[in-house]
Symmetry: C2
Subunit: 158 residues, 2 copies
């Protein structure tokens, strides 16, 4: 997996960069970074010691969170690409999660960098579906699907 | 909603009380507490200021996390109840999440205590399905479903 270019999240408008999962301006958050890798997207994250489920394994809620943010980031990037626009160009395109599904396939070990691969399987102007795989080494620990919808103007900071 | 009795999570065995979402021994975590309320279960949680999605709204990953932990807690409690056993009695019954689904129905406002209601809709010895509603005041912000399976012995601390 070769990540390329700038992280999607570093190209979000400032007022949309405060997300706990991926906002570059949220100093308390995870600051997940997602990148293109050909037609797929990738992100890497190493959980901290306190992100535990039971000793030795990663908390499923964190995995769901990473899938969520990698999904909405991938949705925005795919929408820009579909329009032939550079990510970060205005007007901003941002997506929010309408539905999130995670299947936990294997216990996720602590102390390992996790990799998320995303595939935008459906890209429409107002709705993008992203399928995401979470790997620890070569083991697929979880699969997720994010149904992302274009952020309503009412949610944009005024 | 009237919560009753001890929190499920305070009755987990010590070695299973380190979960970031609900472990009473995880000082960095959310320490979610779930209770019976008749045939349903309830939990309350007030997000912190940094648990933001975009300014003014709660991060969806947190909501997924709360649903996850309230779901596995409800699964364990329902399994004890189905067996006519007091929660916390040995051998311990603990469930892990096989599948988590969250539909985000309305933006979740910050600064409000969230309430989670759980209903165990299917209770089998090795599998419990829990449906969960997340409310901010009277507004249903999210609905979730947790398919929980009995924790495999291989995951139990040795």
């Amino acid at each position: 997996m070769q990540a390329s270019g700038q992280a999607f999240q570093d190209l979000y408008p400032e007022e949309l960069s405060h997300c706990y999962g991926c906002g570059s301006h949220n100093k308390d958050g995870h600051q997940l970074k997602s990148y293109w890798d050909g037609e797929q997207t990738v992100a890497r994250f190493t959980p901290q010691a306190f992100h535990t489920a039971i000793p030795g394994y990663v908390y499923g809620g964190l995995i769901a969170s990473l899938i969520d943010c990698h999904g909405t980031g991938t949705a925005a990037a795919a929408a820009y690409r579909a329009q032939g626009r550079a990510m970060g160009s205005l007007p901003a395109i941002r997506f929010v999660t309408a539905s999130l599904k995670v299947d936990y396939l294997a216990p996720t070990p602590m102390g390992v960098e996790l990799k998320l691969r995303g595939i935008p399987v459906e890209v429409k102007e107002r709705k993008v579906i992203v399928e995401i795989t979470v790997l620890a080494g070569d083991t697929v620990c979880a699969r997720g699907q994010v149904i992302a919808v274009k952020m309503p103007d009412s949610m944009l900071p005024g």
